[in-house]
């Protein structure tokens, strides 16, 4: 199942290329221009660090769209007829969704590292591990939502709204202290946002975190990501497994 989902993703050459163009255009356009507009020191490197995590998030979400495509084209019945247990099918999808996002974002993270500069190897391994868990958690969240709402249109818009709120109320685009200064409620939400944890840990591993001072103790965001991963992987698997029989996914 994992192999199938990873292979399937890379068959979408158009999608893979376009998403890479999004990424580069955000660095080359928004990143470069916005750095000339804001007073945060070295904002360009700060933004590039956050962008890698935003891309990982939006790629891991895509497993939900695959589930709709399969339901629409009758592929789901074929999957159910395969000689794998339901549990293997469901766990495989969740891992496959996260793994392919991670593989896809790998070269983009390399581009980010090239732009950002040096890394601390030990911190980087810890951050990679956290990003790995983060992408599984997002994939599980996407599966849970996709099979629960059963409409590709609603899923697309809900993902858009979630994306708008999760990304904007996180430290991916601006430092936590500024968010708190703008509105304490926004700051509180950003402080509990798994996207903030992932972005902060990635920046921490590359030294960019010194700009914003978001991370006082790296164990706290790491723990936040582990909880996020555990919760949404469990939810995704449980809901998918429950709705898989008797056409409940239709």
């Amino acid at each position: 199942m994992i192999e199938r989902d990873v292979r399937l993703f890379f068959q979408y050459k158009f999608l893979v290329i376009m998403r890479a163009i999004w990424f580069v255009s955000q660095i080359a356009l928004f990143g470069v221009i916005a750095a000339n507009m804001v007073s945060v020191p070295d904002y360009f490197r700060y933004y590039v660090g956050g962008l890698s995590v935003m891309t990982l998030y939006s790629t891991a979400i895509f497993i939900g769209f695959d589930i709709y495509e399969e339901a629409e084209h009758g592929v789901f019945e074929y999957l159910l007829s395969l000689p794998v247990s339901r549990k293997q099918l469901v766990v495989g999808r969740s891992i496959g969704g996260g793994l392919r996002a991670f593989i896809y974002v790998g070269p983009l993270v390399a581009v980010s590292l090239f732009v950002i500069g040096g890394i601390n190897p030990i911190n980087f391994v810890i951050a990679l591990f956290a990003l790995f868990l983060f992408s599984f958690g997002v994939s599980g969240m996407s599966i849970a939502i996709a099979v629960s709402i059963k409409s590709s249109d609603r899923f697309d818009i809900l993902m858009g709204v979630l994306d708008a709120l999760i990304v904007r109320l996180s430290t991916t685009m601006y430092p936590l202290a500024i968010i708190q200064k703008t509105n304490p409620l926004y700051g509180w939400t950003a402080g509990l946002n798994p996207l903030s944890y992932a972005a902060d840990l990635f920046r921490w591993s590359t030294g960019v975190e010194d700009i914003a001072q978001n991370v006082q103790n790296p164990l706290l965001p790491l723990l936040g990501i582990v909880i996020f991963f555990g919760l949404f992987t469990f939810l995704g698997i449980t809901i998918y497994e429950r709705l898989i029989e008797g056409g409940g996914w239709r």
Binding site: Q26, L29, N36, V40, A164, Y186
Partner: protein
């Protein structure tokens, strides 16, 4: 002409079926204004603040254009879905000419964009200031022209892509290219400092033209008001004409072929 009106009616009825979609889009747009714009307000460089005053006020007209883009683009999503589900056979069997069908779709996409954008434009007026009646008419006319162009662009992409993922991905790519290389998010002077070539592209971008026009009307005392040129309206008209014709032609030809 009756065929065009029938298509507009059909698409408007469909539009109101997507209540959740509209709520979602409005939430996304308001999140941009009431979260990102407010946060950026606190981190602007002093020279940028002297040009634009408040980022919130600067971004509010850009937000109306963003909303217009998102909603006018929705027609493409519907047409892409019709193509995938082969509803287009039914559309082609309707008692109207192919031209009426195609023009009706482009026009309804633009009108729906205008309808959706109205509350965002009103929000902008409430926070930034109200225009005179003549200025309002000018704003609405230019935005309508832009909406029809965006609708045409969306239909051109929709009939050329065979799956929802491809359409969504292409929509994202168009969004990033058009918006990030425009004055929707940042003033032209900042783009010029970053890259003069990008600034030249941004000047011709129809989204910049529409945003800057609203700003020059609502915020005439600010330095950025000077960056607006009435030539921008010509760029918007050219953009609209090109994509209206491309969409109508592509819609007629590609649907007949499938």
């Amino acid at each position: 002409m009756i065929g065009v009106l029938r298509m507009v009616e059909h698409d408007f009825r469909n539009f109101f079926r997507y209540k959740w979609w509209l709520v979602g889009l409005i939430s996304m747009n308001l999140a941009d204004l009431f979260i990102s714009a407010l946060v950026y307000n606190n981190i602007l460089k002093a020279n940028v603040t002297s040009q634009i005053g408040s980022y919130f006020n600067f971004f509010a007209p850009g937000l109306a254009v963003t909303g217009l883009f998102a909603s006018a683009f929705m027609i493409g999503r519907e047409i892409n879905m019709e193509r995938r589900r082969e509803v287009h056979h039914y559309m082609l069997s309707l008692p109207m000419t192919r031209m009426e069908l195609a023009v009706g779709r482009v026009l309804s996409g633009g009108l729906r964009g205008m309808m959706y954008m109205s509350p965002l434009l009103l929000t902008c007026f409430i926070f930034v200031g109200f225009p005179t009646a003549a200025q309002l008419l000018l704003i609405l006319a230019v935005l309508f022209m832009l909406a029809v162009g965006i609708s045409g662009l969306s239909i051109s992409i929709a009939v050329s892509t065979s799956s929802l993922e491809k359409f969504i991905t292409a929509r994202g790519a168009v969004y990033y290219m058009l918006f990030f290389c425009s004055t929707v998010f940042y003033p032209l002077t900042v783009i010029k400092t970053a890259n003069p070539i990008l600034a030249s592209i941004a000047q011709m971008n129809p989204l910049s033209g529409a945003s800057d026009m609203i700003r020059s009307i609502l915020l005439p005392r600010l330095q950025i008001a000077e960056s607006f040129s009435y030539y921008s309206i010509i760029y918007i008209a050219v953009f609209s004409a090109i994509f209206t014709f491309t969409a109508a032609f592509a819609y007629m030809k590609i649907l007949e072929r499938k």
